[in-house]
Every structure is written in structure tokens, then in C-alpha cells.
């Protein structure tokens, strides 16, 4: 008579806090999650296959549409990967500008993460404060390349155009106010008892599990592993920059929150160095009008805001297109950790865990 039944519930694909079209099948015992299966693919567009049928120039526009909140990072990975494939050396000024824009984009991405994560946990004001600063950054992107979200910012061999007049001044104005804004978020969240209760000890994933699951980015660094591709395999102008890799050892949601906030401060530092030390010179290397590859393969990782974003190209002889192109998308790999994080915990923690992984479905489904 007293049957003990578990309830199966679909979180998503239309749900306020699954950050897109993620569907998580949950089996609930009361409010406790006993089993969790993320279901993906609702946003699949076949980006990799499309890129194999487009030239190396054209493929970049598809990378904008993978991680659409950090499209400049994706552009950087694509451009540098292709440059590695063809052995093109980029002028130093272009490298600096790329670094600066990528870091600004990291700020924009982290701000969006903070906004949505806080909103998921219920602090709705942080959402708009973070979007206010993101608006500045999007204006900067618009000034540089003419689009706010799908930027297509870089070109193979450098940049299409130099910085527009007044860009440095606007970027510096943003630099001047940004640290105070981070302090504001911290006032609202860091010491707040409800925020602490909702995040400390929630969705733990220790270093061994992170490495076993291939998790990278702030989630890995919050588990105490100081792995950052900007330091490990420096690309762009990161080798010339002076910055630290913030790490924590608690490996929970709160630690990831602190790590990302510290990363925002470090990004701010890198942007400042780029602005101060911006070299003069051309922004575009001499490259042939048509790129024809040799038989070659290249894997190029960069540190995207979500983790290690890798582009893998296989070139065929005389090919205008990559023979094979693959993206190691950080969100996709990080999402694997979701069941490990939340099984045996409460329903509200699922929301916190999805938020703390910082997944973008455009990148997962590609």
C-alpha cells in the first residue's frame, strides 16, 4: 500500500535557469536528486561540419555563434589556430589588441555568468548591476568591430582595422570604474549569509574528479589546480603580461565564485598592461590572398572564460577548407560533471550547479 515512488521531472529545455535549451532529466526523492541526466542537442547546428565546407576565412563567423557570450575568445582561437596551421606570424600590435579585446570579453562573459548565477540563486539586483558594466564592454566591441555579440573581430594574420579613434580613452574610462563595480557585487554577495549558505559546500568537485572528467577553467582552478592556458601555453601576448592565476582549494560553488571574481580583477590588470604598453606598428601580416594548406594537423588551445577551448584542424593538400575541424568546447566537457556534482543533493542545488558551471548551450550543442 505504501509504495515509495520517485518522481521524474524535466528541468528544461524551457526553464528560466537552464541558460538556454539544456534539458536535465532528474529523478527526485522528495526534493533530493537521486539521478540526473543532462540531455543536450537542442541547439545543434553542425558548426564543425559547416566549417569543413567553408574556407578558412569564412569559418570564423561560425565560431561567433558557439559561445555567443564570449565570441571574441572563439575568434581568437580560430584565428590563431589557422595561423598556426599556415605558420603566419602576427604583428605585435595586433597581438596586444587581441589580448586586450579577449580579456575584455572575458570580463563580459564573467559578468554575464555573475548576473545569471546570482539571479538563479535569487539576487536579482546583481543581474542588472553586472549588465550595466557589460553594456560598456559591448559598446567597446561595437566601436571596434561593429557588432556587439557576434563580433567576428579578428582576421587571419591580424586584424581588419586598427583600433578606432577614442577607443583607448573609452577603455581607460571603463578601467577606472570597473574595480569599484566588482566591490559592489562583493558587497551584495560575498559576505551575505544567504549567498554563503546557498554556495558553500554546494556542488563540490575535487581536483581528482575534475581531472578525470576533463573539467577545465575556473571550476578546475577552484579545486586547487593552477592550470591556465594563458600561463601554460601562452598565446597572443600573454607571455608578456604580468598576472596571477587565482586558485582556491574548497572546490565548491563559493570557491568558484571567488575565483571568477579574482579572475575579473586579473583581467582588469591585463587590460591595463595592454593599454599602457600598446606597441605601434601594423596590425595585419602579409598573407596570401588564398590560403591553401598542406597536409598538416594542428591543435590550438586557448583559455576561454569557461575553460580550455581547443581548435583542431586537419588540412589536406591544396585544400581551401579544413579537411577536419573539431572544437573542444569547455562548456561541453564541463557539463559532464553535473551529475557528479548534484546527485544526492537538493533540487535547489541543481540550479546553483548549472549556474556555477557557466555553461553556454550554443557551445555545447554547436
Amino acid at each position: 500500500m505504501f509504495k515509495n515512488e520517485e518522481m521524474e521531472i524535466n528541468l528544461g529545455p524551457q526553464h528560466p535557469s537552464t541558460h538556454g535549451v539544456l534539458r536535465v532529466k532528474l529523478r527526485l526523492d522528495g526534493e533530493t536528486v537521486t539521478h540526473c541526466t543532462p540531455v543536450i542537442g537542442y541547439l545543434h547546428r553542425g558548426v564543425e561540419k559547416i566549417c569543413e565546407n567553408k574556407t578558412y576565412f569564412q569559418g570564423q563567423v561560425w565560431t561567433d555563434r558557439m559561445d555567443y557570450v564570449a565570441s571574441i575568445s572563439n575568434n581568437l582561437g580560430w584565428a590563431e589556430g589557422v595561423e598556426k596551421l599556415f605558420g603566419i606570424e602576427v604583428p605585435r600590435r595586433a597581438k596586444y589588441i587581441r589580448t586586450m579585446l579577449t580579456e575584455q570579453n572575458r570580463l563580459a562573459s564573467h559578468l554575464l555568468w555573475l548576473a545569471t548565477h546570482a539571479l538563479d540563486i535569487g539576487a536579482m539586483t546583481v543581474f542588472l548591476y553586472a549588465f550595466r558594466e557589460r553594456e560598456y564592454l559591448l559598446d567597446l566591441f561595437e566601436a571596434f568591430c561593429g557588432a556587439r555579440l557576434t563580433t567576428t573581430a579578428f582576421r587571419i594574420g591580424g586584424l581588419r582595422e586598427d583600433l578606432p579613434p577614442g577607443f583607448i580613452k573609452k577603455a581607460q574610462a571603463f578601467q577606472d570604474l570597473f574595480l569599484d563595480c566588482v566591490d559592489e557585487y562583493e558587497t551584495l554577495l560575498t559576505e551575505n549569509r544567504i549567498w554563503k549558505k546557498r554556495t558553500i559546500g554546494v556542488a563540490k568537485l575535487n581536483a581528482e574528479d575534475c581531472i578525470a572528467l576533463g573539467v577545465t577553467g575556473p571550476v578546475l582552478r577552484a579545486a586547487g589546480v593552477p592550470y591556465d592556458i594563458r600561463k601554460a601555453f601562452p598565446n597572443a601576448a600573454y607571455a608578456e603580461m604580468d598576472f596571477e592565476i587565482p586558485t582556491r582549494t574548497e572546490a565548491d560553488t563559493y570557491a568558484r565564485y571567488l575565483v571568477r571574481l579574482a579572475e575579473m580583477r586579473q583581467s582588469h590588470r591585463i587590460i591595463q598592461q595592454c593599454i599602457d604598453g600598446l606597441p605601434e606598428g601594423p596590425v595585419m601580416a602579409k598573407i596570401p590572398k588564398i590560403l591553401k594548406s598542406e597536409v598538416n594537423e594542428v591543435y590550438h588551445p586557448i583559455e576561454a572564460p569557461k575553460g580550455e577551448l581547443g581548435y583542431y584542424f586537419v588540412g589536406e593538400k591544396g585544400g581551401l577548407n579544413p579537411y577536419r575541424m573539431h572544437v573542444r568546447a569547455p562548456s561541453f566537457v564541463n557539463l559532464q560533471a553535473l551529475p557528479k556534482m548534484i546527485e544526492g543533493r537538493l533540487l535547489a542545488d541543481v540550479i546553483a550547479a548549472i549556474g556555477t558551471l557557466d555553461v553556454v548551450l550554443g557551445e555545447i550543442d554547436r
Binding site: 563567423v61 561595437e142 566601436a143 561593429g146 559576505e191
Partner: protein, 169 residues
């Protein structure tokens, strides 16, 4: 001390003070002129107040004419080739009294356009630009197919500035 901190919510009071500060600031500045500083509200009253667009803003594709009113395009097909989404279709033709080839048809499928500006970049004759129009919605699907003729949006509206936008420069 930690007991006292548990009982008296200083942390919550700090957050409340911050939001209260912003409430006061916006409440007393809501009627005044909007300045983009931290002190004021950030609402852009878009249809009434025009939007500031950067000079490099990428809007709708526009075919340019030169001073004599001639179409600048010489049908080199560079834009057609580079377009990642294949939205441009050009038909080459001849025109009386013109040495260069003349586009008989220049079709542009706006619904598929992703506004990447590769076409403008590839054009060696500066004959196309992306203007600053961003209010591109229409009621019919057919209206997205823009050609050289046509009543609605045709390729020759060279307005660099949209109806509700202002270029910064």
C-alpha cells in the same frame, strides 16, 4: 563575536545600504538628464531617444552609386564568393555606354545575412557598404529578399543612419 555576527545581520544591512543608495540616487535623478555615469539610471528610452551607434556599426547591405548616379558595382563576384551564408546573387550584364560589367540583378537575402561585413571587406571597388540600419523587421518573408527594384527596402536606400539611430561621428 561570531555569535553576535550571526544575530545581527551586518552583511545583509550592507547589501541593503547599497541598494538603498542606488534607489535614492535614481529616485532623485530620474527626472534629470540622462548621463552615462554610475550615478544615474541606465534606461535608454529607445524609440523616443535615438540610439548612438558606433561608426563601424554593421547594419544592412547597401549598394552604392557614384556621383553620376551609376552603380559602382562591376560584378567581380568577390562578395558573392566570400559570403559565408551565400546570401548575395549577382547576374552579370551589359549596359549601354558603360565599359565595366553591370549588375543586372543584385539580390540579397537579408533573412540569412549574418552581418559579418566580409563582402564589404572583399570589395575592391568600394561599391557596397553596410549601413547603420538595424530595424530590419518586416511583416512578410518576401520583404527580406531585397533586390535592385522593389518598393519596400531596396538596395539603394543609402541612408547611413537608421530611422532611430544616430552615428557617433
Amino acid at each position: 563575536m561570531s555569535m553576535l555576527r550571526t544575530l545581527i545581520p551586518f552583511d545583509i544591512a550592507g547589501g541593503m545600504a547599497l541598494t538603498g543608495k542606488y534607489f535614492g540616487k535614481v529616485f532623485f535623478s530620474a527626472n534629470r538628464k540622462k548621463i552615462r555615469t554610475q550615478l544615474k539610471h541606465f534606461t535608454q528610452e529607445y524609440p523616443e531617444v535615438k540610439v548612438n551607434l558606433a561608426p563601424r556599426y554593421r547594419g544592412r547591405l547597401t549598394l552604392l552609386k557614384d556621383e553620376q548616379g551609376e552603380i559602382k558595382c562591376v560584378c567581380c563576384l568577390a562578395c558573392e564568393k566570400i559570403c559565408p551564408t551565400e546570401v548575395i546573387t549577382i547576374e552579370k550584364g551589359k549596359k549601354e555606354g558603360r565599359k565595366m560589367p553591370f549588375p543586372v540583378r543584385y539580390d540579397f537575402e537579408m533573412e540569412r545575412c549574418i552581418f559579418c561585413e566580409f563582402c564589404v571587406e572583399s570589395c575592391g571597388f568600394d561599391s557596397i557598404i553596410l549601413n547603420h540600419q538595424f530595424e530590419l523587421a518586416t511583416y512578410n518573408r518576401e520583404d527580406f529578399s531585397i533586390g535592385m527594384e522593389g518598393a519596400g527596402q531596396n538596395m539603394f536606400i543609402p541612408s547611413p543612419v537608421g530611422r532611430h539611430s544616430v552615428a557617433e561621428d
